[in-house]
Every structure is written in C-alpha cells, then in structure tokens.
C-alpha cells in the first residue's frame, strides 16, 4: 500500500472510491476500519463468526452504495457501525433469539446459574447475555454510546436503554460472581 494512500483521510479515500472506483482506496478504508467493526459486530452477535462475516460484508456493500450521498456529518466509522448494527439486529431477528420484550421496557432477565467451578470471564459473560441486553451493554459500556444514541440506533426509548443496561450489568455480575469469589478466596 503506497504511503500516500495510508496517510490519506477517510474522506479523500472515499472520494477516490466514488469518483474512480479505486479498489486500492477502498482496500485502505476496509483495512483501516474492519478490525474494530468486526470485533463490535462479533460482540453484538454473541460470538457468531459466520454471521459476523456476513454482516460486515453487507455493511461495506451498503456503505459503498451510499457513499456518494454521505454528508460527513459523522465519521465514516460511526456510520459504518450504525449500518452494521442494524444488520446485526436483522440477523438476530432472523435467528429468532430476540424476544420482543427484550427491546421493550420493564422485563428483568433471570440469570442462569453458572457452574461454580467454571471461570467465566467478562467476554464470555457478555456473549451469554440475551441478545437485546447484550447490544445495549456493548454499545454503552464498551463502545461509549449514550442512551440517546442507543435509543436512536435500536429504535427504543431512552428509558428502555437504561433499564436494559441495568439488567444486563446485573446478569453479567451474576455470571462473574463465582469466579470473583474464587479469586478472592
């Protein structure tokens, strides 16, 4: 990859893709943003690799299709992540694992009892969350989204986002409790 391409900002590269169909510019954008995007989608999907690949691929295709109309009011990464998040939600719905109540207010999940002897690290605990709770926790506690942004992205009320985050953290703590106790024993 030429140095000039590596040094170019996202907008310059995107213009090269839109105006000239530059494959090298696109590959630079892809390599710049895909590792973070891939990890993000993988977390939202609870570690499902094949689905993550499909979502990431489709996200890039949709971005490329709409790139000429992108107004750069947000960063490319934010836009890309939003598109990927919507695709991930569609994938979760297709799975049939998202219960409607997870995206609505006021239903507390029941944490399945983890085996005491099993050490569950944080990543595994997040992956075991119900899909809706996991999405809110990943967006808020890992990606740094506000509840307002989460509400817009997931099309839920701000209050729903907050309560789901509360529940999600409670479930994660319940998962992690035995291993913490073992460490402190």
């Amino acid at each position: 990859m030429p140095r000039a391409l590596r040094d170019a900002d996202d907008r310059t590269l995107a213009e090269a893709v839109v105006q000239h169909g530059s494959e090298r510019a696109f590959r630079e954008l892809y390599r710049r943003h895909t590792p973070a995007l891939y990890q993000f989608v993988l977390r939202v999907l609870g570690g499902a690799e094949a689905e993550t690949e499909d979502v990431v691929q489709e996200a890039w295709i949709r971005v490329a299709r709409k790139l000429s109309g992108f107004r750069w009011e947000s960063s490319l990464r934010t836009w890309l992540s939003a598109i990927a998040l919507n695709l991930a939600r569609e994938a979760l719905r297709r799975r049939g694992r998202v219960r409607t109540e997870e995206w609505t207010d006021g239903v507390a999940p029941v944490a399945p009892a983890p085996r005491d002897a099993e050490r569950i690290d944080l990543e595994q605990a997040i992956a075991r969350l119900p899909d809706g709770y996991r999405a809110v926790l990943v967006l808020h506690d890992i990606e740094g989204y506000t509840h307002e942004e989460i509400g817009r992205q997931l099309q839920i009320a701000v209050g729903t986002s907050k309560s789901q985050l509360f529940d999600a953290r409670r479930v994660v703590r319940a998962y992690l409790k035995p291993s913490r106790e073992m460490r402190h024993a």
């Binding site: 893709v17 895909t34 590792p35 990890q39 990431v56 295709i61 490329a64 299709r65 506690d141």
Partner: protein
C-alpha cells in the same frame, strides 16, 4: 441505573476488552468482489504493454539474443558433459581391458599347465595340436604387446623369439611357411 453504577474494577475490565479483531483473510476479497460485481469498484486493469514499433523491435531483439544465448549455453554445457562422459568411458574401458588381460592370461597359463600334465597319457597328435594352439596364441599375444609398447625391448625380443621359432617349425615341416589359423 447509570454509568456510575460500574465499580472502578468493572470499568477497568470493560476498558481492557479488545477493541479490534483481525477478520478472516478472505473476507476482504469477498467484499471487493461483491463491489466489483455491483460496479462500485473498477474492474482490475489488464496489463498494458506499449505497442510502439521501437518497443516491438527492442523486444524482438532481446528475445533473439536471449534465445541465441540460451542455445549457445546449452550447446557448451552439452559438449562439456559429452567430453567428460567419453573420458570416463575410456578410463573405464582401459581398466576393464587390463582386468580382462589378467584373467585370460591366468586362464592361458592354467590351460597350458593342464595340457602339460596330461601330455604323458594323451596321444601325440592331440598334444601337438595343443602345443600349436598355445604357440599361435603366444605369437598373437606378442604381436599385440609390441603394438601396445613398440619401444619396449623385452616385447620386441619376445616377438622375434616366437616368430623365429615359428619359421623354424615351418622349415622343419618341409621348407614352406605353413600357416594354419587356429581360432580360439
């Protein structure tokens, strides 16, 4: 519940989670292929070579030079290998011939010894025939030794002795040089 509900330890644990993961190698190519198929990326450009007459002439000259150089090199390598092969064959042939002389010489001497041991009990004609065969072989061998080493005085004397003996035998047989070829 809000962000402040996280303990410092929990906050640190979340901050320590990896933010990036390397996607599968083939995913990039899949995405690029899909975008090409939609016409969003330009198809890969075929290799374009200049077509000017000067370029073609230069390319032709370079091709011919390459061919001739390769041919000459091949010839040289082949001839060198052939010469080495011939030398090796000659060396091997000489060694084999020397060994054959040694083996047949031993057989010749052994055969003469066997003839001598049975000469008392065998018929005189058979013994005479055997003696003649042995002498003819000796003369033929002397011829070859002189041919092999013409300056060797011993070889010359042997030749003279065996041919002198043959002449006397012929004269003894009736004044004619009788020559009987005995194949063995």
């Amino acid at each position: 519940m809000h962000e402040e509900d996280l303990t410092p330890e929990e906050r640190q644990s979340l901050a320590d989670l990896t933010r990036e993961r390397r996607p599968p190698e083939d995913l990039e190519q899949r995405v690029v292929r899909a975008l090409r198929a939609e016409g969003l990326l330009a198809p890969p450009r075929p290799l374009r070579l200049p077509r000017s007459p000067a370029w073609i002439a230069t390319a032709a000259a370079a091709s011919i030079a390459l061919f001739v150089g390769g041919f000459a090199l091949g010839q040289w390598v082949a001839s060198r290998q052939a010469a080495e092969l011939l030398v090796a064959m000659h060396q091997r042939d000489a060694a084999q011939a020397s060994a054959l002389v040694q083996r047949t010489g031993s057989a010749y001497v052994s055969a003469l010894g066997a003839l001598a041991s049975v000469s008392g009990s065998a018929g005189p004609q058979e013994v005479a025939a055997g003696r003649e065969v042995a002498l003819n072989a000796l003369r033929a061998a002397a011829d070859q030794i002189v041919r092999l080493a013409p300056e060797d005085p011993l070889a010359v004397r042997i030749l003279q002795a065996v041919h002198g003996g043959a002449a006397r035998d012929s004269l003894d047989a009736g004044g004619e040089v009788a020559s009987r070829l005995v194949w063995f």
